[in-house]
């Protein structure tokens, strides 16, 4: 048990503290990416780190995603522990060749000779009216790729604690930071440390339905669960945390308890992580189900700019509540 006092901290601060701690602990760790230095990070995550660690270890890069992501892979193979920041998941498409054809394959293609201890951080998700080239949740695409590990911290503890084990992992680990979470504030022990990066976590226990969420949809699912509780429906909220490899066991065990599942995913429905989770439940727990698995995903449109349309496109607590009510036969408010 932690004895250190809890302190109020934001998700952004928690990530910065994790980077600081990693850099203090291991000289091989360095951070590079667009505007991580003088600007302080596009989302303010690395503010102050340039002054503390200097430009060799807090490296501003040109707008050359493929080169600096690939350089991260090469540096990892050369014995360093790079943290590479890509501003958003949309921009990581410019580095997809390096992510897919090098990071995910070299260990295997070389017959296991080379480790790639690279951490690739990027912002994901919508909600800030930044339209159709800065808002998408493409985690599902990347989760398709064997050889990568994917993490989605949705809590302060995970924002603070996932980086160290990700850096210790000999494989490329992608960390998705949902843009709407950076200002999330709460209490965290001053000495909060590493967390596991293998298991999903139950964020709210319940017996009637499992709401499966990750990253930016965790608050959505928790909010839906609160509303459902007023109907007397107890929803269990499972935070996937690790998007690849998925923690099948946690998913199936929860469904075995509740016999119903709704997957809440900010990705588009077609070919989504929600589709994968749903298929696994069908494969492994079909006869435990009292209802078909439901999905609440983003509408299948490029993200529109106007606030009302963006909100209409995104998974909302109300949509989750409606799915659950429909599933268990509780009349909706209307």
């Amino acid at each position: 048990m932690s004895v250190a006092p809890a302190e109020t901290i934001t998700y952004r601060d928690a990530i910065r503290e994790a980077i600081r701690e990693a850099m203090l602990a291991d000289e091989r760790v360095f951070l590079m990416g667009e505007d991580v230095g003088a600007y302080g990070g596009c989302f303010g995550v690395s503010r102050g780190l340039l002054d503390e660690f200097g430009p060799e270890r807090i490296r501003d890069t040109p707008l050359s995603e493929s080169a600096f992501v690939g350089a991260g892979i090469g540096a990892a193979m050369g014995g360093m522990r790079p943290i590479v920041e890509v501003m958003t998941v949309n921009f990581c498409l410019l580095a997809l060749d390096q992510i897919m054809n090098n990071a995910a394959t070299i260990t295997h293609m070389s017959g296991g000779q080379f480790a790639i201890p690279l951490v690739l951080r990027m912002t994901t998700g919508a909600g800030r009216q930044v339209a159709a080239q800065h808002s998408h949740s493409l985690e599902g695409w990347l989760a398709h790729i064997p050889g990568l590990k994917l993490l989605a911290p949705a809590t302060l503890a995970d924002a603070r604690g996932m980086l160290a084990p990700a850096l210790a992992d000999p494989n490329p680990v992608l960390i998705f930071e949902h843009g709407s979470l950076y200002n999330l504030e709460g209490e965290l022990a001053a000495d909060a440390g590493a967390v596991d990066i293998e298991r999903a976590a139950i964020r709210r226990p319940g017996a009637d339905v499992t709401l499966i969420a990750y990253g930016g949809t965790l608050p959505t699912a928790l909010s839906a669960a609160e509303e459902l509780a007023t109907d007397g429906v107890e929803a269990e909220v499972l935070d996937l945390r690790v998007l690849r490899p998925l923690d099948d066991r946690a998913i199936i065990e929860s469904v075995m308890r509740t016999h119903r599942a709704v997957v809440v995913d900010e990705g588009w429905r077609s070919g989504s992580l929600a589709a994968e989770v749903s298929a696994r439940i069908m494969e492994q727990a079909f006869y435990e189900l009292d209802a078909p698995v439901a999905r609440v995903c983003s509408a299948e449109v490029p993200m529109p700019y106007p606030r009302h349309l963006e909100q209409a496109a995104l998974p909302q607590p109300g949509k989750v509540v409606d799915e659950v009510r429909r599933m268990i036969g509780v009349p909706s408010d209307e």
Binding site: P62, G74, A75, G79, S110, F114, P170
Partner: protein
Amino acid sequence: MSTTAGRTTAGIDSAHGLELLRQMLRVRRFEEKCVELYSATKIRGFMHLYIGEEAVAVGAMQALGPEDAIVATYREHGHALVRGVSADSIMAEMYGKVEGCARGRGGSMHLFDAATRFYGGNAIVGGGLPLAVGLALADKLQGRRRVTACFFGDGAVAEGEFHECMNLAALWRLPVLFLCENNRYAMGTAIERYESETDLALKAGSYEMTAWSVDGMDVLAVEDAACRAAAEVRDGDRPCFLELRTYRFRAHSMYDPDLYRSKEEIDRWKQHDPIPALIAQLQASGILNDGQLDELERSIEQEIEDAIAFAEAGTLEPDDELERFVYFEGTAP
């Protein structure tokens, strides 16, 4: 005048000249045997031959020490052989056997060998350049005076990754030796048909790095240039670029019917075959006689026969190991 190991002011150093010849012949004969083995379906998949271009890998590799790193392309049998990856393990790799230099997981296009710091066999054109930049960055950050030699073809110059990496390596003064093997064709498209500026050294030079063109059909010229460039990289704390002007005598790959260039053009380039040229030079200098050449050929033939026997006797990985090596086994070094 030159001060490299390959030449003295009096001419070619005899032992070194013979070694350059031996390396070029090894690569040539090894690949000629690969063609037979491909026809016999012992080797499958894509296979790209280096025949005609041997002077580039052999010459350039003279500038590197065991501490240096190599990133190569899918046309890399020669680079691996010259670097010291054993013919046995390369042949076994092409046979898809566990004894291969990548346990058979990579094949012809993906030769890897940690022991000789051979970082592949990259089959995405331009895809190896960012890796080389990163390996060099790791050396720089750790204060190691090492060179990362990055081989790539002329086709890569049209890729965005080329330009991103030229800029990044020069900006950060990283110790990368960029070795552009200009064989004049991006698969089947002639350089005049895909580059607005065909002087590739001029292009690279615009990124504030020393860059020049070299006759890639002359192993001594390549060696001399590579040694000077590597010294600049190692001691000058900055990247360097060489355009090695060469030509492949064979088609792009075993699938290529080679319809896009004339026989006359190929024959014209064969007049500049680097191997007969060096033989003639060594003979004229009294360094090589017919008996020595025969002996050289015999020993190379034996090495290749041994490699084939090694590959034939190798083992196929059991199916139940299929999913190994997707993730690294153990902790990272």
